[in-house]
């Protein structure tokens, strides 16, 4: 824009930036994979790959929900605490059989989402505040209900969700993949998905077009709560025990990073499902790379921070941050 004297060059530069803008997360991911193939010993192995995918699964699950809330120009900070709540409740009702235990754990997530969503949609509390309250209070409640201790989970069906395999694929990865497909379908093919981006893009216009703004907002937080609870179940199953003090701790930060790096602007109006998955994979791969090469983990954090800043900078070019 400022180089009007050299239209060709500025056109090229802007084409490149806009290309990178749309696909930055893929580019970064491919670069990092190539780097690992060269540097990291045994990187190209089934074990390495499946470890990466298993560890990233809970992050993908919560990121999908967070992506929906961010798409409406909101946010859900409570996902980690909702994971802890689900983890705390899961063993309590497993005595009635796994369907009951699982349903109760997921229902707790739905309830947390209903509280968040009602505060946002009907009371008009800012999403960051409403879900911050749930972030703080949720983990406290989880510890109270769990009696401050870790309870073992022995139900084989539940344990399979964290440790089992189907056709050689780890169960957590299957759960996450199904969630990705469902959320992707919601976003792309349903009126609900349209409402989400319309509300995030221009809430007044959406309301004046007759969209059910409040109902949609409520649904978005309920879905986010449900996905977080599912992530909590998977993480608990992987551990073989509930752990309300540690499960999902700080995962909201990874989720927001994954969403933003994946190309969903914090100002809403767009939801990038595949981008979010790639964002989650990217940040997980960064920390794995540092660990595998015996590099200090602190530097992984610095690198992640740098990637967040680049992602936000690229979005800023469109005036959306």
């Amino acid at each position: 824009m400022d180089s009007g004297a050299r239209p060709n060059k500025s056109l090229d530069a802007s084409t490149v930036t806009s290309w990178v803008r749309g696909r930055g997360v893929y580019v970064a991911f491919v670069v990092l994979v190539i780097f690992n193939l060269i540097v990291t010993p045994n990187f190209a192995s089934v074990v390495t790959l499946s470890t990466l995918l298993i560890t990233v699964s809970p992050i993908v699950l919560v990121s999908l929900g967070v992506a929906l809330t961010i798409g409406t120009e909101g946010i859900d900070l409570s996902v980690g605490s909702v994971m802890a709540l689900a983890s705390a409740f899961l063993p309590l009702y497993l005595g009635y059989g796994w369907p009951v235990g699982l349903s109760v754990a997921l229902l707790v997530g739905v309830l947390a989402g209903l509280v968040n969503g009602s505060l946002v949609a009907f009371v008009g509390v800012q999403p960051i505040i409403a879900t911050l309250a749930m972030l703080v209070g949720g983990r406290g409640l989880a510890q109270i209900f769990a009696g401050g201790q870790s309870l073992p989970v022995t139900d084989p069906v539940i344990l399979w969700l964290g440790q089992g395999r189907l056709f050689g694929l780890p169960a957590p990865v299957i759960v996450a993949a199904v969630a990705v497909l469902v959320v992707g379908f919601l976003v792309r093919r349903t009126t609900f998905g349209r409402y989400v981006v319309a509300i995030g893009g221009n809430r007044s216009a959406s309301y004046l077009s007759g969209h059910p703004v409040r109902r949609t907002l409520l649904a978005v937080y309920v879905i986010s709560g449900l996905l977080a609870a599912l992530a909590g179940v998977v993480a608990t199953a992987r551990l073989g025990a509930s752990d309300p003090s540690n499960i999902g701790l700080l995962i909201e930060l990874s989720a927001i990073t994954a969403v933003v790096v994946g190309g969903t602007p914090l100002s809403g109006g767009r939801v990038k499902v595949v981008g979010t998955v790639m964002g989650a994979l990217l940040i997980q791969l960064i920390s794995n790379t540092f660990i595998a090469n015996d590099l200090p983990f602190t530097w992984a954090q610095v690198l992640t921070a740098a990637i967040i800043l680049v992602a936000v900078y690229l979005q800023k070019g469109r005036g959306v941050v």
């Binding site: 093919r189 349903t190 009126t191 609900f192 349209r194 409402y195 981006v197 319309a198 893009g201 221009n202 007044s204 216009a205 959406s206 309301y207 004046l208 077009s209 007759g210 969209h211 059910p212 109006g269 767009r270 959306v320």
Partner: protein
């Protein structure tokens, strides 16, 4: 006399923004002890002028003199320190602090230890409020008071800094009648103290009650300056709207054709819509095939009426009937299902969803219709989008182009398409041609005509007099949220309309049916 040296003088100030000439050689002066009205329609340049004077903007050309000396204020704080106080329409105070703390915010009295002297602050604040006849407990938190009293506190704060010039931007918009009296008392006091007051308002009664002189801005230029007493209401409105009273208006300046055949049964009946303090018992009806113009000055309640009908704003009382059936008020969804469509005034704020594509913007309202069990049918969507992009001549590189990249006129057509694909019975158009180029403007005016010819009932809101007089089959005139008159067919002339806007029911033109609704 004192009057010869103005407190504040603006000399040939020009201010440009990208693509807009906001002020074009504007000169203005404020004398001691005068109340100077500053009026003009939307976009006339009032706010820009105030911002230039208070140091929010720097003028591109021209000078500002304060107390006879040239000044350049880099920021509002400097103009405040020099003695220019501004009271904005929205209250810029801190709700949780007490009244006294708000009055003395940033200049709290200190005791010998350098601590805030609370007792003295409360005493002084009480004294200031007392002096201007404002009744409020100075220790109560501001937010516990009514909006009107809060506004009065803001005014007390502004005048207690020993200002030489006070700028009031729509100070009465949130005041009750009794509070307006108090405010006028305060202004009278200021006048006696030799303070100059710039008074921005579009309520004509108020202007004539307290202002000495008036400056009318239009399109960034001074349209008129002079003593208010020498100017009739009609002349004032003529200046604001840019019309010469003697000017003979030729038809054909717009794309509107002649009258329309209208059916007998109304398609829409708005009955006694009230939303205090902005709307009072607004009633009118619209017949199929008829264009009803809603006329009025800024703040007359045109957009509020439109939003009340569409359900975009809750109303206190009243009803909306479509084809004889009452619809649920306060719900755009219900209005849309009943067949009402609403093109909002602010395209960017309330119309387009900028990052979504032309396609998604067009089908936004039709989504529930196009979907089965919550699934969007791509085929039905594409057919609709193609049909309307073609019939309206929407120029976009493809239906997938983000709508923000389109020109204003094309964005407006996208929004029209959004509503036309709903096959509405009633179409409300709020300033449909504002801010778009002349070509698109004429196209949209023609389109409005065609739609009426096809039997739609249309409510047209426009600040452009010729759009209303040429486009409408009937005109409903609003003033201060009240219907003040009705013009139909041959009565629709610019002079009749301006007379209504100036004087309301005592103008003697039409309006018999609605006369009892209008309060004196």
């Amino acid at each position: 006399m004192e009057q010869d040296s103005p407190i504040l003088e603006v000399r040939r100030v020009t201010k440009r923004f990208p693509g807009v000439l906001a002020l074009d050689g504007v000169s203005f002066d404020l004398r001691p002890g005068e109340v100077h009205a500053l009026v003009g329609e939307n976009g006339a340049g009032k706010s820009t002028l105030i911002k230039v004077v208070t140091g929010v903007y720097r003028p591109d050309e021209g000078q500002i003199l304060f107390n006879g000396e040239e000044v350049t204020f880099a920021e509002p704080r400097e103009s405040q320190a020099a003695g220019i106080s501004t009271i904005y329409q929205e209250i810029n105070l801190i709700p949780l602090l007490s009244v006294a703390q708000n009055v003395f915010l940033g200049r709290e009295p200190r005791n010998s230890l350098g601590m805030i002297d609370k007792a003295r602050m409360n005493r002084d604040a009480a004294e200031i409020l007392e002096r201007y006849g404002i009744r409020a407990d100075v220790t109560a938190p501001l937010r516990s008071l009514g909006l009107g009293v809060q506004q009065m506190v803001a005014i007390a704060r502004a005048i207690s800094v020993d200002a030489r010039a006070v700028i009031m931007d729509e100070p009465t918009s949130s005041l009750e009648a009794r509070e307006v009296e108090t405010l006028f008392g305060v202004i009278g006091q200021l006048r006696e103290e030799g303070v100059g007051v710039i008074y921005v308002s579009h309520r004509l009664e108020e202007l004539y009650e307290i202002c000495d002189r008036v400056t009318v801005l239009r399109d960034g230029r001074v349209a008129h300056t002079g003593d208010l007493a020498e100017l009739s209401r009609l002349q004032l409105i003529a200046h604001m709207l840019g019309r010469e009273l003697s000017e003979v208006q030729e038809e054909g300046a717009t794309g509107f054709g002649g009258e329309h055949e209208t059916a007998r049964e109304p398609v829409l009946v708005a009955q006694s819509l009230s939303q205090r303090p902005r709307l009072h018992e607004v009633s009118f009806d619209v017949h199929p095939g008829e264009v009803v113009g809603l006329a009025g000055l800024l703040g007359a309640g045109r957009t509020e009426t439109a939003k009340a009908i569409f359900g975009a704003e809750p109303i206190d009382s009243g009803s909306v009937r479509v084809e004889g059936k009452d619809i649920k008020t306060g719900s755009p969804g219900a209005a849309i299902r009943a067949g009402i469509a609403f093109l909002p005034e602010d395209r960017k704020l309330e119309g387009i969803i900028p990052d979504l594509s032309v396609r998604e913007n067009i089908v936004a309202a039709a989504l529930p219709k196009l979907a089965r069990a919550g699934l969007v049918s791509e085929k039905a969507q594409d057919d609709l989008v193609e049909e309307f992009m073609q019939s309206l001549g929407i120029k976009a590189s493809s239906p997938n182009q983000p709508v923000r990249e389109l020109s204003g006129g094309n964005q407006q057509k996208v929004l029209l398409a959004r509503w036309m694909c709903m096959n509405p019975k009633v179409l409300i158009l709020d300033e449909p041609t504002r801010g778009i180029d002349i070509g698109a403007k004429v196209e949209i005016q023609k389109l409005v005509d065609d739609l009426a010819a096809k039997g739609l009932g249309i409510i047209l809101i426009s600040s452009e007099v010729d759009e209303i007089t040429e486009g409408s089959d009937r005109v409903v005139a609003l003033r201060d949220g009240t219907v003040v008159g009705l013009l139909s067919e041959d009565e629709i002339t610019e002079s009749n309309l301006m007379a209504l806007l100036a004087h309301g029911e005592d103008s003697g033109h039409g309006g018999q049916e609605t006369r009892e609704d209008a309060d004196g």
